[in-house]
Structures are given as structure tokens and as C-alpha cells.
């Protein structure tokens, strides 16, 4: 779990089964393991009313472990972008009593939460657990472009090419960390780029 630095920096917890009849899980990569770990604490029949939307990534791992939980629905998606229309539709048709569980990378948690907030859910009522890569989704504050899967500090904006300091300042609305030009005074000053979010 990431350390708390500034107030907007999200803090993640550990998934725990909530009361209710309808449970929606959104996970990517190692996030599947947060769900299987939680399953050990869930009451019998918990997954009878559960839908799991899973983005396994290029290695395609953990699908069998999720199938073994026998959820009412298991939907495998190649990317978050491809999953989003389905997620929006599910949330638009949902009723109070639906519980949301997000597990995996920060980019996945943040973007799924963004869709849930738009649908009227309260961020404090959403279960989250961070697993896997620390890679960040970053907004360049200068050109507003979003760069996915940022692992270095500083990082290059994939849109305008500025060298950015990746801040802990997080926007829930954008589901992204803020990147600010690190050498605005003197562009010839280029600090070493290190892996910061493996």
C-alpha cells in the first residue's frame, strides 16, 4: 500500500465482503488475487450475486482462479477502455444495494471509481485494494494530456514532450496524478530519470 503524503493521495484498503445482494468487482492483473483472498472471508453463496469484470493483461494469468469462485458473471476484457461502456451501462441500470470492489493498479482503481462517482456512488463506500504495479496515470498540467502507466520520475509527457515531476497531487475527477514541468526555468537541466513506480 502506498504511503500517505498529501491529502489528495488515495489510500487503499483491503477488500472485505459487504452486506448486500449485488456485488460488482473490477480488477486487473494481480488484483484478481485480492478477490480470491477476500473470497476466503466471504459468507457462503456470496458470489452467487457477483459480477467480476477482469482485465488480465498480456500474460493472461489468474482467469482460472476467478472462474473457480463461480461468480454469476465473469467478464474478461482486453483493456479498461474496452470495459468502460459495459461498466457505465451496469452502473446506469443499477439500484442501491450494489456494492463495488476495485482491485489492482492505481490506474484501474481510479478510472473505475471515476465512472462510479459519475453514477452517484460515494467514494468512501467503495472497497479498494491496490495490487501489482505502482505505475501511475498522469495528467500533464500544461497540455492536459493523459499518459498511462508512468513508472519513472521524472516522466515524459507523451503528448507535449515536457519533462514532468510526477506529483502525489491526485485528481479524483480525472483519475490521474498531476505532472508538472521539472525544468521550466532551464530546459537544458535534465535530472536523471529513475524508476520510481515499478
Amino acid at each position: 500500500m502506498a504511503a500517505k503524503t498529501i491529502i489528495s493521495r488515495p489510500i487503499y484498503g483491503t477488500l472485505s465482503p459487504q452486506p448486500g445482494k449485488h456485488h460488482l468487482f473490477i480488477a486487473d492483473a494481480e488484483g484478481a488475487l485480492a478477490i480470491t483472498d477476500m473470497a476466503g472471508k466471504a459468507p457462503p453463496g456470496f458470489f452467487d450475486g457477483a459480477e467480476i469484470d477482469f482485465i488480465p493483461g498480456s500474460e493472461g494469468k489468474h482467469i482460472a482462479a476467478l472462474e473457480a469462485l463461480k461468480p454469476a458473471q465473469l467478464h474478461i476484457a482486453p483493456s479498461f477502455a474496452s470495459l468502460l461502456p459495459r461498466l457505465k451501462q451496469t452502473l446506469a441500470n443499477a439500484h442501491m444495494g450494489l456494492r463495488l470492489y476495485l482491485a489492482g493498479t492505481e490506474g484501474l482503481i481510479g478510472q473505475a471509481m471515476q465512472a462510479a462517482l459519475e453514477a452517484g456512488m460515494d467514494h468512501t463506500s467503495i472497497q479498494t485494494e491496490h495490487r501489482g504495479s505502482l505505475a501511475r496515470r498522469m495528467q500533464c498540467v500544461h497540455c492536459k494530456g493523459i499518459t498511462e502507466n508512468v513508472t519513472t520520475q521524472p516522466a515524459l509527457c507523451s503528448h507535449c514532450g515536457l519533462l514532468l515531476l510526477v506529483r502525489d497531487h491526485y485528481s479524483r475527477r480525472l483519475a490521474a496524478f498531476q505532472g508538472v514541468c521539472i525544468n521550466a526555468e532551464d530546459r537544458s537541466e535534465i535530472p536523471p530519470m529513475e524508476e520510481a513506480f515499478p
Binding site: 449485488h22 444495494g97 468512501t124 463506500s125
Partner: protein, 321 residues
């Protein structure tokens, strides 16, 4: 100065009987100006100077927050209560000068909600009068379910039906009409917030069903109308002010402290807001905790008490304040 106890000098501008249990009171500023802005769900604490004792009772503001020329409250008469509502019904007449607190809101709308589902029981309708006015003025999406014993005790039911039509559903106990709560709660769109105000039994029932059906606690709002319970008199020593006082049978610990010249903070006087929380220095006896603020653990520890509603039975009690 205590939090929330900033005072307003008002005059009673009208007293209107609503039905055989409920009377409505209108207050205007003595200097003729506008009253402070408030939001739906807010209450004021009304000071009642009843010969040698002062009673302080909280009542929800029921007028529209869009009109601050006057405040209106509705008081249900309780013939076996501690006398506050009887004082209001018998002694308060138009023209009487009174003192009330600034409004405080411990039951506000969460305006991020996509929809507001309101459940009222009996006189618990009053905060919803203001909340529905506020939402109607802003084009908000709401639905009100109101249970009352009989049609004649459906205080303001006719007004609400006239204003909001089918957005208001009525349930009469004498006709054995009952809210199909599970169905109602399960059919609400995502992003709905739930508000409940009424008798303790109703609040507990609604909160329990909502939790069981998967409503996050952040989306469930409630307001208790709890009055301090009477009990055996007891003595208290207040360490900081060095006073020893007696709490009478019909008096709350908070009221006894105030009568002795101590000025503790308070907001709700009903055991929910936490303002008057007080540390216990020593005790020999049994606490009767009536509040909804302290945790079970706090209650067991014997280290804290809410003097607005809780009592004590035993040999000695020393509080910090």
C-alpha cells in the same frame, strides 16, 4: 461562548393549531430584520423561561429556507413529557418575546445525491418540510414516504400532497397501511441518499434494513427526536469549576450544569451531536447512557458521558467540566 448557542432575539408572530396534538409557531426578529440563512434539516434551540426554570428544547425549522423573514416550528404536545411542549402549547402566545439559538444543521441533505428518498414518521415530518422546499426550489429529485397514525394526525400531509402530488406517499396506521420497505429500498437508483426522521423504532428498522440490503452507511442519514429521560436525582462534582450540584428527577445533567452557572457547549441536546461530551474523573456507581454518540467501548469504560441525555445512579460522580 458555547458553540451553537449564539442567540437570536425574536417575537412570536403567530401561533396556529394544526391538529389536536400539533401547534405551529412563527418567529420574527425583534428588530424586524431578516433571520440567518439556514438549510433544510436545521434546528433551533428554543429557550422557555418557565418561572424559575429555563427549558431549552431543539425544534426543526419547517419553513422554506428561501424565506428568512420568519422561522416556523411545529411542536407536538407530549402530556407525559418533561413539560417543554406543554409550555409551548399553553404559555406561548403571539407577541411573546423569546430567545432562540442560531440554526444548526445535523440533518442536512447531501447535495451530491442523484435522488433523495425521505421517510418520515409522525412529527418527524418537520425537517422534511424545509428539505422538500429547498429541493423543489432547486429542481432536486426527491420522494417522501410519510407514516402517521390517522389521517387527522397526518400533520401537513395535505399541504405536502398539494405541493408535490405523487412525490408524497402517505401511510395510515389505522388503515394498516405499511411501507413495503425492502421493495422500496431495493428499487432505488444508484446514487440515492436515504433520510429518516421519526420514532426511534422506525429509525432503527429503516437503518437495519438499509444496511442489510447493501446501502452504504454514508448514504443513510437520520435524526432522532430524543428527549432526556427522567430518573432518580443524583449529585455531581464538577472538578474544573469546583461545584457540587444536584441533578433533579426531571432535569438533565446538562440542564443542572447550566442552572449552576456552568456554560458547557451543546448543539442538539438529544445525544447525537457530540458537542457536550464530558470526561469522567472518578465514579462509584452505574452510568445510564442514553446517547447515540459514544461508542459501546466508551460506555463500558466509564470515562465519558453525554450530559444532555445520560444519567448516573450511585455514590459519587466527578466530572471534568
Amino acid at each position: 461562548m458555547s458553540t451553537g448557542t449564539t442567540k437570536l432575539d425574536v417575537v412570536v408572530s403567530d401561533v396556529v393549531p394544526v391538529n389536536h396534538l400539533v401547534t405551529r409557531f412563527h418567529f420574527r426578529r425583534r428588530d424586524g430584520g431578516l433571520l440567518p440563512t439556514f438549510s433544510g434539516g436545521a434546528h433551533v434551540v428554543v429557550e422557555m423561561r418557565d418561572s424559575d426554570r429555563t427549558r431549552l428544547n431543539p425544534y426543526s425549522l419547517m419553513g422554506s429556507p428561501l424565506d428568512t423573514r420568519e422561522y416556523t416550528i411545529s411542536v407536538r404536545r407530549d402530556d407525559v413529557g418533561r413539560g417543554g411542549s406543554l409550555f409551548m402549547h399553553r404559555q406561548v402566545k403571539p407577541g411573546l418575546e423569546m430567545v432562540i439559538s442560531y440554526p444548526v444543521n445535523l440533518f442536512s441533505l447531501d447535495l451530491r445525491a442523484k435522488k433523495h428518498l425521505m421517510l418520515a414518521g409522525g412529527i418527524g415530518i418537520t425537517p422534511f418540510m424545509a428539505q422538500t422546499s429547498q429541493l423543489a426550489g432547486a429542481g432536486g429529485n426527491f420522494e417522501l414516504h410519510y407514516t402517521c397514525r390517522t389521517a387527522s394526525l397526518g400533520t401537513y400531509a395535505d399541504v405536502l400532497r398539494q405541493r408535490y402530488g405523487n412525490r408524497v406517499r402517505l401511510y395510515h396506521d389505522d388503515r394498516e397501511e405499511r411501507i413495503d420497505l425492502d421493495r422500496l429500498l431495493s428499487s432505488q437508483p444508484l446514487g440515492t441518499h436515504l433520510y429518516v426522521c421519526g420514532p426511534a423504532g422506525m429509525i432503527n428498522w429503516v437503518r437495519d434494513r438499509a444496511a442489510a440490503l447493501g446501502w452504504p452507511s454514508e448514504t443513510v442519514h437520520f435524526e432522532h427526536f430524543a428527549a432526556p429521560q427522567p430518573g432518580a436525582p443524583f449529585d455531581v462534582t464538577l472538578a474544573l469549576s469546583g461545584k457540587t450540584i444536584r441533578v433533579g428527577e426531571q432535569q438533565s445533567l446538562l440542564e443542572a450544569m447550566e442552572a449552576a452557572g456552568v456554560d458547557p457547549p451543546y448543539l442538539c441536546r438529544g445525544g447525537v451531536c457530540g458537542q457536550c461530551e464530558t470526561n469522567v474523573i472518578s465514579s462509584d456507581g452505574k452510568f445510564i447512557h442514553n446517547d447515540h454518540w459514544l461508542s459501546e467501548e466508551d460506555h463500558r469504560s466509564g470515562c465519558k458521558i453525554m450530559p444532555c441525555v445520560s444519567r448516573f445512579e450511585g455514590k459519587s460522580l466527578v466530572l471534568e467540566r
